[in-house]
Structure formats: structure tokens, C-alpha cells
């Protein structure tokens, strides 16, 4: 039995499961191969995936919830879910698509909770990056803009926020975002456009300052 048939069953087709290699085997990316190895019991494969993606998941959680202080805890829980749900992963999907679907759902559950776990400031503008050599005034403007962007980003409707973050932060294509969010590519296009339009409108005064100073 070929590898492809062993993985996908007798009714598999290249059209359904992506391109096949010369030997009829699916062209799996490195992450998918690691997941398959983990499904076979190789713990070090999951460790490798964890180390590779933990930063992206922490950033996603902090952006999605608007809370840096709870991002780590959420990211840890997301990886626990991935570990326990590993048997449900099928290599027909990109690993990151599967991972961020879990991440999004987990963050969504968190922000919908009536009582959030951490009380505190949602965003610390002292952490905002400023370009070297900027005047104190420009640095202050930059921090104010970053704080406003983070605040408005967290206030976006959930679908718009997810689509924009997956595009800007993760560099996903619209097709990958559609798969992650289980919506059409047309819907992704609309969500990202509406998110940008809303943010640009709400942040107009901050961005005018930025234009004036540059």
C-alpha cells in the first residue's frame, strides 16, 4: 500500500489532498511531517513544533485579546489543546492552519468569558517600539499611536480582527485565512478591507500627526 493510501484511504485523490510527489507520496511540509511523527509517538516532534511556533502564538493571543498579561497563559493552554487533539490533525491541511484555528477558538472563548481571568491594563504603551534617534515628542506620538492601534484592534469585531491578524502578523494568504476561519476567500477579502477601513477611520487623528511629523 502506498504512503498516500495509508494516510488518506483508498478514495484519496491528488486533487483532494494536494500535489503528490514522484512516488505518489503527498508533499508534506516540515510541520506536517513532525505532526505525523508525533502521532506515531515521537514526543520530540511536538517539542520541535512547540519551540517553532510558541512566539507566534503568544503574539497572536496578546493581539487578539488585547491583553499582554494573559497572553502567555492562553498560549500555553492552546498548546495543551494541540497536544491532546493531535490525533485529529490530518496532513491535508497545513499545520499552521490547524494550529491557528485552535488558537483563535481558544482566544474567542476567553474574550467571551463574562469574567476575564486577569484584571489590569490592557496595553502598556511603554513597550511600544520607537525608532532610534527620534525626538521625545515623536517617541511620545509613536507610543500614543501604538496604544491606540492596540486598543482599536482589540475593539474590532472578532472576525475582522482574526482575519487582519492572520494576514498582517502571520503572513497568511487569503486562502489560508479562509481555511483557518472556515469562511470563503471572498469573505476574508471583505473582512480585511472592513477592518482596515474601520481602523483607518478611528485612528485618523493619530496618523495625521504621524504624517505631519514625517
Amino acid at each position: 500500500m502506498s504512503y498516500a493510501r495509508a494516510q488518506f484511504g483508498d478514495d484519496c485523490s491528488a486533487a483532494e489532498h494536494g500535489a503528490l510527489g514522484l512516488m505518489g507520496e503527498p508533499q508534506l511540509d516540515g510541520d506536517a511531517r513532525l505532526m505525523l511523527a508525533f502521532q506515531q509517538g515521537d514526543q520530540s516532534s511536538f517539542e520541535a513544533l512547540f519551540q517553532k511556533h510558541k512566539r507566534a502564538i503568544v503574539i497572536f493571543a496578546s493581539r487578539f485579546t488585547g491583553r499582554v498579561d494573559e497572553a502567555e497563559e492562553l498560549a500555553q493552554e492552546i498548546f495543551v489543546k494541540c497536544y491532546l487533539a493531535a490525533s485529529t490533525y490530518e496532513p491535508r491541511a497545513k499545520f499552521t492552519t490547524w494550529l491557528f484555528r485552535i488558537a483563535r477558538n481558544h482566544c474567542l472563548n476567553e474574550v467571551r468569558r463574562p469574567a476575564r481571568r486577569v484584571a489590569g491594563e490592557p496595553y502598556d504603551d511603554e513597550r511600544a517600539r520607537t525608532a532610534p534617534g527620534q525626538s521625545p515628542e515623536a517617541q511620545a506620538q509613536g507610543r500614543a499611536l501604538s496604544a491606540a492601534v492596540a486598543r482599536e484592534l482589540a475593539a474590532l469585531p472578532e472576525n475582522q480582527r482574526s482575519a487582519l491578524l492572520l494576514s498582517r502578523e502571520q503572513g497568511m494568504s487569503y486562502e489560508e485565512i479562509a481555511e483557518t476561519m472556515d469562511v470563503s476567500i471572498g469573505a476574508v477579502k471583505s473582512l480585511i478591507n472592513r477592518a482596515r477601513k474601520r481602523l483607518a477611520s478611528r485612528l485618523a487623528k493619530y496618523m495625521e500627526h504621524r504624517h505631519a511629523m514625517s
Binding site: 498560549a75 497536544y83 513597550r127 492601534v149
Partner: protein, 176 residues
């Protein structure tokens, strides 16, 4: 190309998600439309601001925290699988099941009661005084259990069964 159409496609254009022909049409429009050009500039500035947001790096304790959560989750999972057979056994006598059984028992009891109260009961003669009670009535009362025999009451044709009638007669005769 109209501004409205450009507005709809602008993000996809900036993200490189349009085909070459569509992208060229938008670029051409932006060259002569100040409003759409300003919008495109605003979107680009916004993207720059999004990219400039600070990125929270996982702390040194992040990995240990994950492993502790994973261990706790696996222990909880193992405990749940151990508890599952017990809860299934408990589940056999669960409240919904008991309620169902109780309901069924009540239904059976009600059916027996209704059957016992056949239409004949409503045609019984009016209650008589103790003096008017005949010996035959007392005999019937003594053998009420026989008269209330479920099989007989359910199937009134049984009363035409000679053996039953004969037995009743003999019982009544014995009392005379």
C-alpha cells in the same frame, strides 16, 4: 474603474491578492484619484503602525508553564477515563432513569385502576342499608377477590363460562 470598486479591492491589492490585470487597473486609478490615493496611503500607514506594535516575547518560564499545564491536563484526562466506568454504573440508576421507571410504574398502576373501575361499576345499584343486605351479597363480598380476578373482569365473556358461574353458584349456595 470606479472609486467604489477600488475601495472594495484596495486591501486585496495592498496584500498582493489580486491578479496582475486587476492590480494594474487599481494602480492606474490611484494615479489620478486623490481620494483613493489618500485612502491607500492611510491603509499603508496603518499597516506600518500594526507592524510597529510591540511583540510580546515568551518569558523564560513559558516552557515550564506549558509542561505543568500539560501534565495537569493529562492527569485529569487519565482520571476522567478511570471515572468513566463508575459513572456509567451510577448512570444505570441515574435520576432520569429512575424518573422514567417511576413514570412507567405509575402508568401501569393507573391502567390497572381504570380497568378495575369498569363501566359496570357505574351501574351498581344504589347503596342499601345494612338490613337490606342479602346473604348472597355477603358471599359475593367474601369472594370479592375471585370476582375481581383480572382475567375475568378484563374479558367479560368469561362470565359466560359455565365453570366460573357454577363455582360462583356453589359458593353462594354454600352460604345459604
Amino acid at each position: 474603474m470606479r472609486c467604489r470598486e477600488v475601495e472594495k479591492q484596495l486591501s486585496a491589492h495592498l496584500d498582493g491578492e489580486l491578479d496582475a490585470a486587476a492590480s494594474e487597473r487599481i494602480t492606474a486609478h490611484l494615479e489620478h484619484c486623490e481620494g483613493c490615493k489618500a485612502r491607500a496611503l492611510a491603509y499603508s500607514t496603518l499597516d506600518g503602525a500594526l507592524d510597529a506594535l510591540p511583540r510580546h516575547e515568551p518569558s523564560e518560564a513559558f516552557d515550564d508553564g506549558f509542561r505543568a499545564k500539560l501534565q495537569a491536563a493529562r492527569q485529569a484526562q487519565a482520571q476522567a477515563s478511570l471515572d468513566a466506568p463508575r459513572s456509567r454504573r451510577r448512570g444505570f440508576f441515574s435520576w432520569p432513569l429512575l424518573a422514567g421507571l417511576g413514570g412507567a410504574a405509575a402508568a401501569v398502576a393507573l391502567a390497572v385502576l381504570l380497568i378495575g373501575r369498569s363501566p359496570r361499576d357505574t351501574t351498581l345499584p344504589p347503596r342499601r342499608t345494612l338490613a337490606a343486605v342479602q346473604p348472597s351479597d355477603l358471599a359475593l363480598a367474601q369472594h370479592l377477590e375471585l370476582l375481581q380476578n383480572y382475567r375475568v373482569v378484563k374479558n367479560l365473556d368469561e362470565l359466560e363460562n359455565y365453570d366460573v358461574i357454577d363455582k360462583l353458584d356453589r359458593l353462594l349456595g354454600d352460604d345459604k
